[in-house]
């Protein structure tokens, strides 16, 4: 019964979403307070219903209820409990339900935290959220119903896929979805603004925390996916420019641009129309990502054409929302008043430059991702657009942005003094240059890119620190005063500095690994030693080992410095999951400082040796460490009082303070 109740709850939430979609918006049009207020309880109840529905499905997984088609197809009674639970969203139907759950969760959050929003804005925002949930719930019910039943029920499930039994892969999709779907709030705000034909002053202040929250999750999701691929796929790549990865990078780039343009709008009432457009585009990219991953169009246009129900349905949703919102934008954007003026050299100017570069870079990634689909659909040729394309386009476009990042926060609003800012950044520039020279002279004289890239990263980190130093007045005033000011800085200033420093660290990581990585591929037998980057790796033994549902050949390596200092052992294995007959490579990873030694096993050669591939990956951990710092920066910024409440203090309190003063 629990299952059917979950199913019913989902259907009911569709009906309620219909109400949420229409009544508040009609109310806003008629200026009827009562109708507008319907959105709030509808959003909360909707969340409750979808949560109930999701719980019912999870329960079916935990109990191995094979009378549910979805459970039978994607689970097995012998799975560990944890993976039974994560299996709920490890498949198409369940993951779409998770998508909707997160969507209505955000809707409920808007309802709860939006109590101090102007009523009509709140009504329109919740109405648009309702429309999105409507579309996706009916998609689930019509084409991918996770509650489809089997009668009589089979006794055993079909799936025990070992690849999916990985905690990284289990946590990755929810994080990514929190990011994707989080942008729906910014989208709803944009549409609401277009419907109303006016932008409240609080609009940008409202959009920014939601965008920021979504951005933090998406950053986490992308970083986690990248690390998972790095350690699990056994060849030490951290980014493949795979369409699925691009699908998550696109909204991230759009969201980053949106964060910055919303800042201009909040502080200066400028770039209003652009920010609205960007909010629409960012969520459109999220929808596009969902479409690309979920419709099967990526694996093959033909596969899509032969089984089109799901794909066409999502494509329909895509056309409806992207096309509809852009049409609305074209129609109504004129009613929004354009805002403040500013000089090209100013904080606004810097943020416009940021937006110009980010959106252009987004466009190249989008083209590279969609071009093969287009060509296959038109001419039937199969082409692949791989890493070389993106390195050639995305790389040169994004580099200038990284160079100018430290200038932005230091420039004044409206009219900035580039020369003064340059002088303040002199130390940071010197630091970056010094590191670049050091890398060139001491580490690698052949790669200019390595030197420049590392210098660039250091410049970003030092530039971010410079911002903090100058804003706290360190060096100009007494240290105690400076410390006091430092503590008193708004959290968003720290957030900015952390996020920009994080980008710098990630840049250092990416550049070092791609330019300075060393690799040895060699056939070894126990007792042999290979030298890599000042370390000796001795192949100690190869022994079979049996795990709970796999067998593996474990290779034990002993690591020593060339100078003889022992560094412990590294284990690498070739694993074989018996039930699925599936081999996997378990890489041996040893972190030394910020760098890693990565050992992976290959096949046996005819003379009984085993192929071993060893990489020295300098500074590789900085890639994810930098992402983590970006996330921390975003979180710190989110905790800023002004963003936390989204709107100013209640008037009573402010008035009381005024009276006292």
């Amino acid at each position: 019964m629990s299952i059917e109740l979950g199913h019913f709850a989902l259907v009911l939430s569709f009906a309620l979403a219909l109400v949420q979609m229409t009544v508040p918006i009609v109310g806003a049009k008629l200026r009827n307070d009562t109708l507008m207020r319907v959105g709030e309880p509808a959003a909360l109840t909707n969340f409750m219903l979808v949560a109930l529905s999701f719980t019912a499905l999870t329960f079916a997984y935990v109990q191995s209820d094979f009378s549910v088609l979805n459970v039978w197809e994607n689970s097995h009674s012998a799975k560990p409990l944890l993976y039974k639970i994560t299996g709920t969203w490890g498949n198409h139907e369940g993951s779409m339900l998770l998508w909707v759950l997160i969507l209505v969760f955000f809707g409920a959050l808007v309802a709860v935290f939006g109590r101090n929003l102007p009523l009509s804005l709140r009504a329109n925002v919740l109405g648009v959220q309702g429309a999105i949930s409507c579309a996706f719930i009916i998609f689930i019910l019509a084409t991918s119903n996770p509650f489809a039943r089997l009668d009589p029920a089979p006794m055993e499930g079909r799936d025990l896929n070992p690849i999916l039994q990985d905690i990284g892969l289990a946590v990755h999709p929810p994080l990514l979805y929190l990011g994707y779907v989080g942008f729906s709030v910014a989208f709803s705000f944009a549409i609401a603004a277009l419907i109303e034909g006016r932008l409240d002053a609080a609009w940008a202040r409202w959009v920014r925390p939601w965008t920021l929250a979504a951005w933090i999750f998406l950053t986490g999701g992308i970083a986690m996916g990248s690390y998972w691929a790095y350690y699990e796929l056994g060849w030490g790549g951290f980014w493949f420019w795979d369409p699925v990865e691009n699908a998550s990078l696109l909204p991230w780039l759009g969201g980053t641009a949106l964060l910055h343009s919303a800042l201009v709008m909040e502080k200066r009432s400028a770039l209003k129309i652009w920010t609205v457009l960007l909010a629409i585009l960012t969520f459109s990219l999220s929808l596009l990502g969902t479409f690309l991953v979920r419709s099967g169009v990526l694996t093959s246009v033909h596969a899509f054409a032969t089984d089109p129900t799901r794909g066409v349905f999502i494509l329909g949703i895509l056309v409806l929302f992207i096309g509809g919102s852009l049409a609305l934008f074209a129609w109504r954007a004129g009613t929004l008043t354009a805002g403040g003026l500013f000089q090209p050299i100013s904080r606004e100017g810097a943020l416009v430059l940021n937006n110009l570069i980010l959106t252009t870079a987004t466009a190249t990634v989008l083209i590279g991702t969609l071009y093969p689909l287009l060509i296959e659909a038109v001419t039937g040729d199969k082409i692949s657009v791989g890493a070389p394309f993106f390195n050639l386009t995305f790389g040169p476009l994004i580099l200038p942005l990284l160079v100018v990042v430290p200038f932005g926060p230091l420039l004044a609003w409206k009219r900035g003094d580039l020369w003064a800012v340059s002088q303040r950044l002199f130390l940071a520039f010197g630091g970056g240059l010094a590191v670049a020279l050091l890398v060139f002279i001491l580490v690698d004289r052949t790669s200019v890119l390595a030197a420049l890239g590392t210098g660039l990263g250091v410049w970003l980190v030092l530039g971010a620190l410079t911002d903090l130093v100058i804003k706290s007045g360190l060096g100009k005033v007494a240290p105690a005063v400076a410390f006091g000011r430092f503590k008193g800085l708004p959290r968003s200033v720290f957030g900015t500095a952390l996020a920009h420093a994080g980008i710098g660290l990630t840049t250092i990581g990416i550049i070092s690994v791609t330019t300075l990585e060393t690799e040895r591929i060699t056939a070894m037998q126990p007792g042999e030693t290979v030298e890599i980057h000042g370390y000796n790796l001795r192949f100690e033994s190869l022994r079979p080992f049996t795990g709970p549902n796999y067998t593996e050949d474990q290779a034990r390596f002993v690591l020593t410095r060339v100078t003889g200092k022992a560094m412990g052992e590294v284990m690498s294995a070739k694993r074989f999951y018996t039930a699925r007959q599936m081999p996997t490579t378990e890489a041996g990873i040893r972190t030394i400082g910020l760098s890693q030694l990565y050992v992976s096993l290959g096949d046996q050669t005819p003379n009984g040796k085993i192929v071993v591939r060893i990489w020295w990956k300098p500074m590789v951990t900085l890639i994810w460490l930098g992402s983590l710092i970006m996330m921390i920066g975003g979180t710190v910024s989110l905790l800023d009082r002004r963003l936390r409440v989204g709107a100013p203090m209640p008037r009573g309190k402010a008035a009381a303070q005024g009276a006292r003063a």
Partner: protein, 374 residues
């Protein structure tokens, strides 16, 4: 019960929609006031920044002036704005439509997509209720769970390997056979079975890998019939029909009449177009051996019996296994052999000692299945 809960849910949803209509709304805060608050807050911020020296005196002055201008602009709009009106009739109509839509849409849609008649069927409950239903899959997965814990139990792998073959789970069969050879050494028979599993996995094609395995089998025992048969099949699949037929004829010559492979070879000869063989009686076809998808009732019974016998054997060697005894007793009940179940209960109780807690538990379990000691 389901319908009652569904009705309650629907009611809750409808009430949620209705709530704002029931509550007499206070005066709506208007958007303009909001804007002014925001600007005030911005002024405060400029003030704070100026105090802290984050922005210059002149900059602060400019910012203040600009925010002041914005406040002025908004206030003007506020004065122009018309009063809002509420149309009572329209509100009631919308409320009625919305409240009706919730149950109508949800119940209507659910009757199309839902299956209210099917109860939830958690696996453990089903097994507890009807152990007789526990199918081969269930027995196999139990055996698998056991082998995952003690992968060095040859006996378990030996029971499972042929079961996998019959179920068409050739990959698993390969693993089982490899494990048997790992634990009890390589034999021609096992090698040939492994080859057969590989062929099954390749949908009946004798792959190079399979061929190597069959050759190894023949190295261990030159006359191994299964390996010979499949090597001939490999020739036939390559198109070297004459070579294949030669091997099959040889098999007809040196295998005894009652060997299944004698029949299989003859059958294969007929299919490959050898007229001389066609006159003879046909035996089981090669497809029967290569892939068995559906098991007949008899096969199933036989297989379960094989597995139960294996369990019985194991409990003789290691009688301190309460769970094992439970399974054995239940299996005998499933096989409708109450005498054997009774005997198993006695043996189990003897193993633990008549008054040991395990014995009492076992007795209770047996009684729940209708087995009692006379």
């Amino acid at each position: 019960m389901f319908w009652i809960l569904a009705a309650i849910l629907t009611f809750v949803a409808a009430v949620a929609v209705l709530r704002p209509f029931a509550v007499r709304g206070g005066g709506g805060e208007d958007a303009i006031a909001h804007d002014i608050e925001v600007y005030r807050d911005q002024l405060d911020e400029v003030e704070r920044d100026a105090e802290r020296g984050l922005i210059g005196r002149q900059e602060a002055e400019q910012a203040r002036a600009e925010i002041g201008r914005r406040i002025l602009k908004v206030s003007q709009i506020a004065e122009e704005q018309a009063e809002r009106q509420t149309n009572q009739r329209l509100t009631r109509l919308t409320a009625a439509i919305a409240v009706l839509a919730v149950p109508l849409v949800s119940w209507g849609l659910y009757t199309i997509t839902g299956s209210p008649g099917i109860p939830a069927q958690p696996l453990h409950a089903r097994i507890a209720e009807q152990p007789a239903d526990a199918p081969i899959d269930e027995l196999v997965s139990r055996a698998e769970a056991h082998l995952a814990e003690s992968p060095d139990d040859v006996r378990g792998w030996q029971v499972l390997a042929p079961v996998y073959m019959r179920l068409g789970r050739f990959g698993d069969a390969r693993t089982a056979l490899r494990n048997i050879m790992r634990l009890s050494g390589e034999t021609a028979e096992m090698k040939a079975a492994l080859g057969e599993a590989i062929v099954g996995g390749a949908r009946g094609m004798v792959t190079a890998e399979a061929e190597d395995v069959f050759l190894e089998a023949l190295k261990l025992e030159p006359g191994e019939p299964k390996a010979r048969f499949f090597l001939a099949l490999a020739r036939a699949q390559e198109g070297a029909t004459a070579d294949a037929q030669a091997i099959w004829r040889e098999m007809l010559g040196d295998l005894p009449e009652d060997s299944p492979w004698h029949a299989a070879a003859r059958q294969a000869l007929v299919r490959s177009g050898d007229a001389a063989a066609s006159s003879e009686r046909l035996g089981p076809s090669e497809e029967d051996m290569a892939a068995a998808s559906d098991l007949s009732q008899a096969d199933r019974q036989e297989m379960i019996e094989g597995m139960v016998a294996g369990l019985d054997e194991k409990l003789r060697e290691n009688p301190q296994d309460l769970d094992g005894w439970r399974r054995l007793i239940r299996s005998y009940i499933v096989l409708q052999r109450p005498d054997a179940a009774n005997a198993a209960l006695k043996r189990g109780m003897a193993a633990f000692g008549r008054d040991a807690p395990e014995s009492l538990e076992l007795q209770g379990f047996a009684e729940s299945l209708g087995v009692a000691i006379e």
